[in-house]
Subunit: 253 residues, 2 copies
DNA sequence: CGTTCCGCTTGATCCGGATCAAGGCGGCCA
DNA sequence: TGGCCGCCTTGATCCGGATCAAGCGGAACG
């Protein structure tokens, strides 16, 4: 049983429910941290947020966290591991919607349809915090900070969703993808220059709307240009500024 | 001074603030209607929603409702007219993010960044209901239905944003675009088979990530196939089922 | 009334990335 | 240990849509 974590933070096959030590660390990097920690864990209202959390996992590579059509009851924060969300179009072709790293939240796009519009599939061993959405909404009505936080998370995801839509070259897409991953790892306290990509080339290609062969070719070209060092799924960004320049049209606008 | 409305509902250059007659009609088709009307206009809480609305307009073709970088203070529901949202990438190329019809809401993607990440430009004479967002959040904390409604609107827009991202042929894109417009007009009580497209071919092309020439060619092909009748920006959908079939990969999944 | 400009259409050519095809490498299982 | 299978890489060819180019018609304006 392999058990490789992007930043090697989990050294042993963990217990089904992560212990408090990990929990405290995790919460500092989670998307809800500002709603939880910043407002102060001690306050009695926030104890309630803790109460409605349920720790779930482990999910193994290929396991489904939820499936298209499942009734929407909860959103999930990634505790550890990586997840992809995907849907199948009318012709049965897979469409990868996104990759989610520790601290990020999946399931927000299910609020409106009230059923999950996509699958969430673990790309390696993964754990989650599960938040009952009805309970969370009710709590949000009493905690303005939490309500605000939910609005902000939704709005943020809106912004990133519209980025992929542009017509951009393969180099721009791959460059921006690498920089984005790096930024997100760095934002959660992991290394922003060396990390493990849990997703296959095919998944990356699908997400970027390219062919797997094209992604492979671009990565080789980036390597010969000394922009990256890459060995299988282990990658090191050697020239972050250069990559940012290549992907600038898709980044931070 | 031309004054053409998609459904010809406004016959005269209206007063800056639309009158109550129009207002009652409009509210029935607005994105907030379920939060306003369904819950019952009479209830005193909902009077407050009425209070925080500010009617703005008219904006003429090309006028900006808001600009990239403006501080985010309010969201806007389109009362009449059409709007496009767009941003410019690092190289100064325009990217059309979306078109908004009467009853739809713009500005939700500004919550997170706290500044508008895009321009909103009127495509014809347009009026809006302006909702102060801080006031609305506060009200949402007391009205679970309103909070729920905001969550749902955000989540819905998330779903539609990810549709454009797929790699689809020009035919699929244009077909789905026409069906989508038709559905949205129909949902608001307008004709779902004959309507005026306020946006230029260039805007459509940009939105669909195609060249204007390609859009033009596809539309002429659709016409020769008897799928549509089109004269400039006036369009009639002759074979809705056929168009739906062509664009099925992008629709309702 | 003619001029100019802009949006739209149509035709000709070109190119980036998809597709097809062939190996290479490593992990897993019998 | 050998064989199989999935993932990745690299090469050759093809095609959809971008780009370049030209012409048309309507609106604004002198």
């Amino acid at each position: 049983m392999q058990f490789k974590h992007p930043a090697g933070r989990l050294r042993e096959p963990p217990s089904p429910i992560a212990d408090d030590g990990d929990e405290r660390h995790f919460c500092g990097t989670c998307a809800f941290s500002s709603a939880c920690l910043a407002a102060g864990y001690q306050k009695p209202e926030l104890a309630e947020l803790q109460c409605l959390v349920e720790h779930v996992g482990p999910f193994r590579t290929g396991d489904h966290v939820f499936r298209t059509g499942d009734p929407f009851r909860a959103i999930y924060a990634v505790r550890s591991g990586t997840v992809k969300t995907r849907m199948f179009d009318e012709d049965g072709r897979e469409q990868v919607l996104g990759f989610y790293l520790p601290g990020e939240v999946i399931g927000l796009n299910a609020i409106y349809p009230e059923h999950f519009p996509c699958d969430a599939v673990a790309l390696d061993t993964a754990f989650f915090c599960r938040f009952s959405f009805p309970a969370m909404s009710a709590l949000a009505a009493r905690l303005p900070a939490l309500q605000q936080h939910l609005f902000r998370m939704l709005s943020k995801e809106l912004g990133s969703a519209s980025l992929l839509a542009g017509d951009h070259s393969a180099d721009e897409r791959v460059g921006a993808f690498l920089v984005d991953l790096a930024n997100r790892y760095a934002a959660r306290g992991f290394s922003g220059t060396r990390f493990h990509m849990s997703m296959s080339r095919g998944d990356i290609a699908n997400y970027l709307r390219l062919a797997a062969e094209t992604v492979s070719r671009v990565l080789t070209r980036f390597r010969t240009q000394q922009l990256i060092k890459i060995d299988g799924r282990e990658i090191e960004l050697l020239n972050l500024a250069g990559l940012h320049q290549i992907g600038r049209a898709l980044l931070h606008d």
